[in-house]
């Protein structure tokens, strides 16, 4: 136990973090959100960066954001992948299960415009083909800072 605590102490605080949004008010919970992630056919590259967000360098939860296990608790649907045909209905069902108000963030080149998989018979090519999209974060995969920034912009934008 002592050595575990010592390790935690040694690691200390890492990463510069990301500045909280300027105007944070209780009325719109700017900058905070419960996020439900759905992989709609990604190559798993974007998932690696989503996992990195949970690490000590980025501290997603310190910013008031967290990934939820159920769409019932979610404010934001984070979608990766070019929307494979086989995931389209599960993706729509997940969105339908979320309570309003809710927003969709397309994460990565594939979710934004199909990426290298665009044009395949097996994909629909972008999240906006099946769901309303409120934010886009391109990249292959997008860097964690960019993901955090997109999430903040989405939660701080005026109400839809």
């Amino acid at each position: 136990m002592y050595r575990i605590l010592q390790k935690i102490w040694q690691l200390g605080k890492v990463g510069k973090g990301i500045a909280p949004p300027a105007q944070k008010s209780l009325s719109n919970f700017c900058g905070t959100a419960a996020i439900r992630h759905v992989d709609a056919g990604s190559c798993n590259g974007c998932e690696l960066e989503i996992q990195a967000l949970g690490g000590p360098h980025y501290g997603l939860e310190q910013l008031g954001m967290g990934l939820t296990a159920s769409p019932r608790h979610a404010d934001i649907l984070l979608v990766t992948g070019p929307v494979s045909r086989h995931m389209a209905s599960a993706l729509q069902a997940t969105f339908a299960a979320m309570p309003a108000p809710k927003k969709v963030l397309a994460l990565g080149d594939c979710a934004c415009h199909g990426g290298v998989f665009a044009g395949s018979y097996a994909v629909l090519g972008a999240v906006d083909q099946v769901l309303p999209v409120h934010g886009r974060c391109p990249g292959c995969p997008p860097k964690p800072e960019a993901i955090l920034q997109s999430l903040q912009e989405l939660t701080c934008a005026a109400k839809p």
Partner: protein
């Protein structure tokens, strides 16, 4: 070597593939197809891949298999008659062939005679039966929809107290999509059936007719966590077609990239395993170390996960001497940080309690399944291309084969630690002996013609890429992830464990969905 292999080699059916030794190519008749399978089975060999290719004016419809013996890899093909799209099933000898043959049928309509499982595999209800997307046919898009896969006939377990738990395709955590059907008695799992294919992206068709540069971008995105391994297998195959070798310096840099990919994934997996055992400390410690490596990757190699670092004929950018020094220091620092952490965790009773004896695959079963790669080595199966069939630059370094016999989650955990230290030593060797010279050979792709096989030992196991090129365009390309042959083993590994242990066992395998669904 058995008599079938000997006679095939003597009669010139097998010809050695240019490049590192031990790789062979051959076109077989139907009897030879089965004889070879039987002999490889007797010799304890493994089936790495089985796939099909469609006909065009110059090529007959064909099925292909990639076989592995300890010191040889065979890419064999068999032509099918245009009116007889059938071939003998290998599922009787090699249980992992079952799903591969189902996938061949879904994509091409070639039937495996003797495969009792006629259910679709990569095809979901979004495609009508009888629609074969890899065949050159008109109006494909109009036949396809987006219906969910609601009527798949899962095997049913009978019994009074048996209940089913359907999980997925959307999981509670942030992982890839797939469906798991558990049949349980109380908390105990008596059967698990996987239903995958949710991330099917039609990769095989996307490759068709593309130039080699697009092919490389796509190969690097078959499974994002193995982007270096796939890119290397692909460029190895393409360079074979071109009759060219990357400069020695580029080979070293590629190996460095592959070892760094191994390191990143092992660190992430160990962290996630600790987390799934309820010990978040492990995750935050290891993610912090992983993040440092990711930033270093971006700084020195241009991409956090090294995507698109490999090019046809070389690598994207060179590594200056100062960078080598800095990377060497990283290796030394990481080794000492990890050693102290490992000692501490090895003694942690809570962690041991969750991992020891959980998710067991005993060596005998692992052999029957033909397990390879990291999880195979954790179940006593000594397969590692870096040791047995080394390709440049691995042929210049000692890559000892390490195995464990226990076959449980704890063994897969320990195996990762072992391979991390091995990889660190290898990185030191690579950096210390990095030769001078060019990092890029010139490759004119527009006139290329021929076939190529690339195979490397990625962090999960053998990653292979088989391709055909005509006038600089891809005629076909089959990327093979080791996950395909390992997913069925997971169904067996969880038996007699409880449902709550599934995430831990699944994580200890950490197989790719995208790489299997293609």
């Amino acid at each position: 070597m058995g008599k079938v292999l000997t006679s095939l080699e003597r009669s010139g059916v097998f010809r050695p593939i240019a490049g590192p030794s031990g790789r062979y190519r051959g076109v077989l008749s139907a009897p030879e197809w089965l004889q070879l399978a039987e002999e490889i089975h007797q010799e304890g060999g493994r089936l790495l891949a089985l796939w099909g290719t469609e006909a065009d004016e110059q090529l007959p419809p064909s099925v292909h298999a990639l076989w592995r013996l300890p010191h040889a890899v065979y890419w064999v093909s068999m032509h099918l008659g245009p009116d007889h799209l059938q071939y003998p099933s290998l599922s009787r000898l090699f249980p992992t062939a079952t799903r591969m043959e189902r996938a061949v049928y879904d994509l091409l309509g070639f039937t495996a005679d003797g495969n009792a499982d006629r259910r679709p595999w990569v095809r979901h209800e979004a495609w009508p039966a009888g629609c074969f997307p890899l065949r050159r046919q008109e109006g494909l898009q109009n036949q396809l929809g987006t219906a969910g896969d609601a009527h798949y006939p899962f095997f049913e377990v009978a019994g009074e107290d048996v209940h089913e738990i359907p999980v997925g395709p959307v999981h509670a955590g942030s992982i890839e999509p797939g469906h798991f059907r558990f049949s349980c008695v109380g908390e105990k799992i008596v059967r698990l059936e996987e239903r995958l294919g949710y991330t099917h992206k039609g990769v095989a068709k996307l490759f068709l007719e593309q130039d080699l540069d697009f092919g490389l971008r796509l190969a690097g995105r078959i499974s994002g966590d193995s982007t270096v391994a796939f890119a290397w297998a692909y460029v190895m195959a393409a360079e074979q077609v071109a009759g060219l070798q990357a400069p020695v310096r580029a080979q070293f840099l590629r190996a460095l990239a592959l070892e760094r990919e191994r390191l990143l994934n092992h660190l992430g997996d160990l962290g996630a395993l600790g987390n799934d055992a309820g010990f978040a400390f492990v995750l935050s410690q290891l993610l912090a170390l992983k993040e440092n490596l990711l930033r270093e990757n971006e700084h020195f190699f241009g991409h956090r996960y090294l995507m698109d670092y490999l090019t046809l004929g070389g690598v994207q950018r060179d590594l200056p001497a100062a960078a080598c020094q800095s990377l060497l220091e990283t290796v030394a620092r990481l080794r000492s940080q990890l050693t102290s952490l490992e000692v501490l965790l090895a003694e942690h009773s809570g962690l041991r309690d969750r991992m020891v004896g959980t998710g067991m695959v005993v060596p005998e079963r692992a052999r029957a399944w033909g397990m390879g790669g990291l999880v195979g080595r954790a179940s006593g199966q000594g397969w590692d291309l870096r040791n047995q069939l080394p390709w440049p630059p691995y042929d210049q370094f000692a890559c000892p084969l390490s195995v464990q016999e226990d076959g449980d989650v704890a063994a897969r955990w320990a195996q990762r630690w072992k391979e991390i230290y091995q990889s660190l030593s290898l990185q030191e060797d690579l950096l210390g002996k990095l030769p001078e010279g060019s990092m890029q050979a010139t490759l004119v792709t527009t006139t290329l013609h021929g076939e190529g096989l690339g195979i490397v030992e990625g962090w999960r196991g053998e990653v292979a890429c088989m391709l055909g090129v005509r006038e600089g365009r891809l005629l076909f390309c089959h990327p093979q992830d080791p996950s395909t042959a390992l997913w069925p083993v997971l169904e067996e590994a969880v038996l007699q464990d409880i449902v709550a242990d599934f995430p831990l066992i699944n994580k200890s395998f950490n197989l790719s969905y995208s790489g299997q669904d293609l």
